[in-house]
Symmetry: C2
Subunit: 165 residues, 2 copies
């Protein structure tokens, strides 16, 4: 069954922080995450796409309860990394699909993204690593989204509420 | 040992494709990856950061051998998703750190990014999912980068050349 996956996980009460247009040069990502680690802030999804004209955005998610300290920490490194802005949003959710590793994951992304789009759910961030795909979406749609993703992979009726995405 | 990780993996001969400034609305990511799946193109790292003014960039990596067909496929969906440009680069590499899941991953990102920055290696893309962090870097520095990351996590002397990142 080409769509075989190991599972669907999700996390609610997710907040994201984005350092907008920071300098795309060595040491910048290190400075941001060293500062967060020093203040014991656990940034669990980190995403940075390619740069444009020497600048790029760097986003990370934290539990909603950690947002204040995350923003305080980022404010302290902002000048060092040259971020032109810092934005934040709460009330988000993460949904992840974990490939089984035994079956081709060729169409896992298509299946997952289609399930979300059919609900009209916009995908805010996509981050993947290894056989796992994580999408950040609006928290208001998470239950429906998780059900739809399960159904898209032929997993209705299985235990749907799993641990951290 | 707070830096305990399960391993460091890497992949060489990586090519990336970026759809620049495509429309940030439901269905766009689905359209891109359905097209790739239909042409049997395996996009293994997919990354999309937040949008600005209704637009965002969407990047993915493929094996260098698949770049031509990936670009052909993307050219066919480009108008549908409103991408203002499509860029591509070869000669890249991916380096991943896999957390052990048993130890806090609070400073894994800081440790990994610092190791790369100390070599002056610029991080082009960061993508994470679950306990795994993947960085896309220039392929010319991969051996040195993998050694430095191993060393940063106290893993010198262990088997360094592992399978796909
Ligand atoms: C933006 C950031 O990732 C930068 N390129 C670095 O290497 O640290
Ligand atoms: C950009 C793309 O991810 C879009 N937001 C979608 O939901 O498909």
């Amino acid at each position: 069954f080409a769509n075989r996956i190991a599972g669907v996980a999700h996390q609610m009460d997710v907040a994201k922080v984005t350092l907008v247009a920071l300098m795309d040069r060595p040491g910048v990502a290190a400075a941001v995450f060293r500062a967060l680690a020093t203040r014991h802030v656990h940034a669990d999804l980190i995403v940075q796409n390619i740069g444009h004209e020497g600048r790029t955005d760097l986003s990370f998610t934290v539990a909603a309860d950690d947002l204040d300290i995350a923003l305080e920490t980022i404010a302290a490194v902002r000048d060092e990394v040259g971020a032109r802005d810092v934005t934040a949003r709460t009330g988000l959710a993460k949904v992840s699909v974990v490939g089984s590793g035994l079956f081709s994951s060729l169409d896992h992304a298509a299946t997952m993204f289609s399930a979300l789009s059919e609900l009209g759910v916009n995908i805010d961030i996509i981050s993947t690593s290894g056989i796992r795909i994580t999408c950040v979406i609006d928290g208001g749609h998470v239950e429906e989204a998780v059900r739809a993703v399960h159904a898209a992979f032929g997993l209705e009726g299985e235990d749907r509420w799993q641990s951290t995405a």
